[in-house]
């Protein structure tokens, strides 16, 4: 039985709590609701009708069609690019973080603490701080317009290393490692046959987090990619937005932007709902380790 329920002022507490949670829920849902409604309108309806309610014919499917036929199907290209960058970046980040997490957790070596502190510091330095320096460096080594310019930086996930180290330390019994070593198994074999099966849930969490971070990355791709056909969704949508504002004369453009936006966020939201338990467990880990 909820301890608070036995306390005084139960009813007023319940009212306050419900109001707070409901208000916040409305606040969060508001722009998403607006977006959904907006994608069902034609361009004229979008510009003239009331934003929070439907108007005119249901144009969602027509709008989706417009999105994908724009500019000879460049949107599909952007979507594919995003999937590629996020997928490859996420896999790379998880693989590297798993190895590094294991290395930091289960081995003692000189400079271990210092190196880990470096990782911790960089944990708090966001992508954006390094974007311009990375661009300058990439320009020098001719990495511009190369998908690797987005995928490789995405593979550096200090958060992943941190989470996996904590998880490995907590969940991997030393006896298992000792037994395997005594048995004569090589270190790599140990990693793949003994460690990986145990840290798999944490790896799933890190994969989810890095996929999301790379999917949503904007500043770096904006800088290092200049050709239309290598843009991810974030950059593509931004380009469309500037074009619309500059009045490029395309009648359809606003609906394309909002519908494109919806298509851009739908996969991740679905992923989030379906894979709930992975980011939940990751947060438990993160918040416990931080306290």
């Amino acid at each position: 039985m909820n301890p608070v329920a036995r306390g005084r002022h139960y009813r007023s507490a319940r009212l306050v709590v419900t109001v707070v949670m409901a208000l916040f829920a409305v606040y969060i849902a508001l722009p998403l609701y607006w977006l959904l409604v907006a994608t069902t309108k034609s361009n004229d309806a979008l510009l003239t009708s009331f934003g929070f309610w439907f108007s005119g014919r249901f144009e969602l499917f027509a709008n989706i069609g417009h999105v994908f036929t724009l500019d000879k199907g460049v949107f599909a290209r952007w979507l594919l690019n995003t999937v590629l960058y996020a997928g490859a970046g996420g896999l790379l980040a998880t693989a590297l973080a798993a190895g590094a997490g294991y290395g930091f957790a289960c081995f003692r070596f000189r400079g271990r603490q210092l190196l880990f502190y470096t990782v911790l510091v960089s944990l708090m330095v966001p992508f954006t701080a390094l974007a311009i320096p990375t661009y300058l460096m990439d320009a020098k080594v001719s990495l511009i317009n190369d998908p690797l310019a987005v995928i490789l930086p995405a593979g550096v996930s200090p958060v992943g290393v941190y989470l996996l180290r904590v998880y490995t330390e907590a969940g991997l019994p030393k006896e298992l490692l000792d037994a395997a070593r005594v048995d004569g198994a090589g270190e790599l074999t140990i990693f793949f046959r003994v460690v990986m099966p145990i840290i798999r849930p944490a790896c799933a969490t890190v994969l989810l987090l890095t996929v999301v971070a790379t999917w949503n990355n904007y500043f770096l791709p904006l800088l290092v990619l200049s050709r239309n056909n290598v843009f991810p969704l974030t950059v593509g949508l931004s380009v469309l937005n500037s074009q619309a504002a500059a009045g490029e004369g395309h009648q359809i453009i606003y609906t394309v932007i909002v519908t494109g936006g919806l298509i851009g966020i739908a996969p991740l939201i679905v992923l989030f709902v379906v894979l709930q338990r992975y980011w939940r467990s990751g947060l438990v880990l993160g918040s416990l380790a931080g306290t």
Binding site: G99, F109, R110, M124, T128, V182, G290
Partner: protein, 340 residues
């Protein structure tokens, strides 16, 4: 190469189901003296496991900073080419009022947005934790959804809603006979962006804090209530102090994020002419590089911004480490003989 049957036996010993079979040889019966390797040999494998990550880290986190610094020491002129100029670019940046205006702006921004975000997050997280409302799972997912939405789309959504000509808020204002709120004017722009950032980051903080609160043992709350604590008292004296680390972390990340503000002003600049080219430091650096084509100067700016963040982050990491005793023992740094 060790005998195959020993490996088989060990694998079985790892499998709990066959632990009872006494006839099998397992790891504990094997004499360990002659197969025990030195700790140093194990230690070197540590390097190999962290190497791939550290290499990529060096290439894409450290090298860019070094190169940005290196570039910032030069100046490119149409006449005379690229020449070494020492700290000239830094002098230019530091004496540029537009740059400082941008810095002031993001500091102001952070000073409002971060406390607001944390306040709302605490209120919502505590509310959720009290468990007086059902459908917990639904709220948890809903509140986390903004995390999945890229800044670009969030800014587009809110930006279009802010629009005075076709936005829904303007429509509501007209219905009520009022002037539409000037979200995208020079005065209203910063709060409007603040709202976008609050929308995007509060949910994440709520879930983080809620997770921390859930880790508080039930017995603590029960004991407090038995001792006569009111609900408010319980919150103030038991729950909040326990999630203070989470709040501090949220504050730090929030401040660092505010300093980096780029996406929101950049996207809004096409909707709101009030966004100047030097609105935030990152935006200024971006425009300096791409519109102004002054890469060395941009490098200096970017290095300063990144440097400020790194200093903040380093300070935070070290004060936290000093303030609390953690389980990560420091003896590893001396290559000590601690067993794995």
């Amino acid at each position: 190469m060790p005998a195959l049957n020993m490996r088989e036996a060990s694998r079985h010993s790892l499998d709990r189901r066959s632990q009872r079979s006494a006839t099998r040889m397992d790891a504990s019966t094997v004499p360990t003296l002659h197969v025990k390797r030195s700790m140093k040999q194990y230690g070197s494998f540590g390097y190999r496991f962290i190497a791939p990550f550290m290499l990529l880290f060096a290439a894409f986190a450290l090298a860019p900073l070094c190169y940005a610094f290196y570039t910032s020491l030069y100046v490119s002129r149409l006449v005379g080419g690229t020449k070494f100029a020492g700290l000239l670019n830094y002098q230019s940046v530091v004496s540029d009022p537009a740059f400082w205006a941008g810095v002031e702006r993001v500091l102001e921004f952070g000073a409002v947005v971060v406390p607001l975000t944390l306040l709302i997050a605490v209120a919502v997280a505590v509310s959720m934790d009290l468990g007086l409302v059902g459908a917990d799972g639904f709220f948890r997912v809903l509140y986390f959804v903004p995390f999945a939405v890229p800044g670009v789309v969030a800014t587009i959504m809110w930006g279009y809603m802010y629009e005075p000509s076709f936005g829904p808020f303007a429509d509501i204002a007209h219905q009520l006979g009022m002037e539409p709120p000037a979200f995208l004017s020079a005065a209203g722009l910063l709060p409007s962006m603040g709202n976008i950032v609050v929308w995007a980051t509060t949910g994440y903080n709520v879930i983080l804090m809620y997770t921390g609160l859930k880790a508080v043992p039930h017995e603590l709350s029960e004991a407090a209530i038995i001792d006569g604590a009111s609900t408010l008292g319980l919150i103030r004296h038991v729950k909040l102090p326990l999630i203070r680390p989470v709040i501090m972390l949220g504050a730090l990340l929030g401040v660092i994020g505010s300093l980096q503000l780029f996406t929101e002003p950049e996207i809004l600049s096409s909707l709101a002419p009030a966004v100047t080219s030097s609105y935030t430091p990152n935006l200024y650096a971006y425009n300096t590089a791409f519109t102004g084509q002054e890469f060395n100067l941009a490098g200096a700016m970017a290095f300063l911004i990144a440097g400020a963040v790194i200093v903040l982050a380093t300070g935070a990491v070290f004060t936290r480490r000093l303030a609390k005793k953690t389980g990560y023992s420091l003896s590893g740094a001396q290559g000590g003989n601690v067993h794995p």
